[in-house]
């Protein structure tokens, strides 16, 4: 396994806030809207610097999506901010009709995704958002893995024409992607090449996958760890190439198994290269209150779960 230099721990939402601030300085068309969670989304930096281009929507997410659609159709590049639950499930039809079907260039930026928002519990822990968003025609779905990648993704999506769902989170998480890395939408990021099993991870689970790769190496297993930051459009070529070499795969995500990254990978492998695939994801369940670490352990999304999944996938290879 390659070794990674961890430069500290930071929340991915702050990467979004930093990226948005930079966009504000460099792109006059970028506007931002937030539904009463400016501090939580770290959008207050943008609000302070560019008050004329920031719109407080209040606790009214449906209208926020509609207003953002209108501004986008009129030529601006709106970034909406609220929690992942209120960014997707609560406003699905607004996104479907006014944004996706209308081809509105809105960037739907969603914090507190997955289990790791912690103590607020299941009402706020949406685990279905990737599935909801990837089903919409023309929607790009991105789930970056650390502070730097979230900042880079935020900046990159402003250049992309079309609606985007950008998903990030609340906990402080290891930062290991270089500050100057290039973010390319739709391009899988090879983190560490290997030969025995491909581990495809997204979001916070990427760091867990790296930890699993290090442990697997100690057991004599060579894992290839790949960061799938863009779930749609999925880098099918990278997935097929990797599994052609390793013969089996593991997916890891902070999301329901139904409709998530693993589900998309299963489609690719089923159509192109039937191979053993083990999915580390939430198994048809709601979350609950607890610390992020406790929750990842209880719901089977921890490093040992990825290690077990890798061993199981390898054992299933026909030999």
């Amino acid at each position: 396994m390659k070794s990674f230099e961890v430069t500290g721990k930071k929340d991915t939402r702050s990467g979004f806030g930093a990226g948005l601030l930079e966009l504000g300085k460099n792109n006059a068309d970028v506007v931002a809207m937030c539904a009463d969670l400016t501090g939580s989304l770290t959008m207050h930096h943008f609000e302070k610097e560019f008050p004329n281009r920031f719109f407080q929507a209040g606790i009214a997410e449906a209208n926020m999506m509609g207003v953002a659609a209108g501004m986008a159709l009129a030529g601006k590049i709106p970034f909406t901010g609220t929690f992942a639950n209120f960014s997707t499930g609560r406003v699905y039809d607004q996104i479907r009709q006014s944004i996706a079907y209308s081809g509105a260039n809105v960037k739907i930026c969603a914090s507190h995704a997955g289990l790791t928002l912690g103590e607020d519990g299941a009402t706020h822990q949406i685990l279905e958002d990737i599935g909801l968003m990837k089903m919409l025609p023309g929607m790009t779905v991105i789930n970056p893995c650390d502070y730097n990648q979230t900042k880079q993704a935020t900046i990159a999506i402003a250049e992309h024409k079309g609606p985007v769902y950008l998903r990030f989170g609340r906990p402080k998480w290891p930062v290991f992607i270089p500050e100057d890395a290039q973010f390319e939408i739709g391009k899988a990021l090879m983190l560490s090449p290997g030969t025995d099993v491909s581990i495809f991870a997204t979001g916070h689970m990427v760091w867990k996958a790296i930890e699993a790769g290090i442990e697997l190496e100690k057991m004599g297993i060579s894992a290839e760890v790949i960061n799938i930051h863009t779930i749609k459009p999925l880098d099918e070529k990278a997935i097929i190439e990797s599994v052609s070499k390793t013969g089996c795969a593991v997916s890891a995500e902070e999301h329901q198994m139904n409709g998530g990254l693993g589900d998309s990978i299963a489609q690719v492998l089923g159509k192109n290269l039937p191979s053993p695939l083990e999915m580390v994801a939430v198994k048809d369940s709601f979350g609950e209150s607890g610390t992020p670490d406790e929750l990842l352990v209880k719901y089977g999304l921890d490093t040992p779960n990825i290690i077990e999944a890798a061993k199981k996938a390898i054992a299933r290879k026909s030999n």
Partner: protein
């Protein structure tokens, strides 16, 4: 574009288009379309500042119209075609396979004149508010016009938009609510009362005007009054009383023709009541 006296004649031709379009595919929504024919004809042929030959999705430098009650697409399509956005003959493709004139309006098929998809109700006012804010950011003095149904006001998102527009002083937008007091399941009073509309909008901080949307004297009196209030710090709404099915006696005074097409005999009778105009059928 046309002299004011021509508007009722154009609207009569629009009504003929509506009836023939829904009859041809035995589907669509004639009732509300007929009720709004006079207002939409007045907007597109008299009040809106727009250039049908140079349509852009973003609408910069032009007035923008958003029809939130997308089901009355027949009147929208007819007025767009008659004002020059696309060939009048294309009205014959309404709701047919591969058409740009989808059951509900959409940008998806690239039909000139449509800037956002509508049909799932309650979303248009939010989108229009976005257009209006963008025009303010760009110092574009054009107006954003919105048409919404009255039954549609039962959607919660509408009131989010109403609150937002007042809070943000969106005073470059004129909304008309098609106050025909009918919806699919019956009268609005029976289905879900939307009483005291004027008081409601006043309480939300809007400028409120009232108009008879099937009376040209009233339209020509009230629309300029609404325009005079532009820039006054408040969003503007016209509570526009209309008659669903206006112009065809057996379609008026009932919700029955909200979403039902006339049969051959009914079409013939309806067209007899609305004689063909010099503009000609499509």
């Amino acid at each position: 574009m046309s002299s004011v006296s021509e508007l009722p004649v154009i609207a009569r031709q629009v009504r003929r288009d509506i009836l023939r379009m829904v009859h041809a595919v035995n589907s669509g929504h004639p009732g509300g379309s007929l009720g709004c024919a006079d207002y939409l004809t007045s907007l597109y042929f008299e009040y809106m500042k727009h250039d049908p030959n140079n349509f852009t999705g973003h609408g910069k430098g032009q007035d923008v119209f958003v029809m939130s009650n997308g089901h009355i697409s027949p009147v929208f399509y007819s007025v767009l075609a008659r004002s020059g956005y696309f060939e009048i003959s294309e009205l014959s493709t309404f709701r047919k396979i591969n058409t740009r004139l989808q059951g509900h309006p959409t940008t998806h098929e690239g039909l000139p004149g449509v800037r956002v998809a509508t049909g799932s109700l309650g979303q248009g006012m939010s989108v229009a508010t976005g257009f209006a804010l963008e025009k303010k950011l760009d110092n574009d003095p054009s107006t954003v016009w919105v048409l919404t149904g009255d039954g549609e006001l039962q959607e919660g998102q509408v009131w989010e938009a109403v609150m937002f527009a007042a809070h943000n002083k969106v005073d470059n937008m004129i909304v008309a609510v098609d106050f025909n007091q009918q919806q699919i399941d019956g009268s609005t009073g029976e289905v879900m009362g939307i009483t005291e509309l004027k008081s409601k909008f006043l309480a939300f901080g809007w400028e409120v005007l009232e108009m008879d949307g099937n009376n040209y004297d009233s339209i020509h009196e009230v629309v300029p009054q609404a325009q005079a209030k532009l820039g006054g710090g408040k969003p503007i709404i016209i509570i526009m009383k209309t008659e669903m099915g206006q112009g065809v006696d057996f379609m008026m005074g009932t919700h029955a023709w909200h979403g039902k097409a006339p049969n051959d005999e009914q079409l013939a009778e309806a067209l007899r009541q609305l004689p063909e105009t010099p503009y000609g059928d499509y």
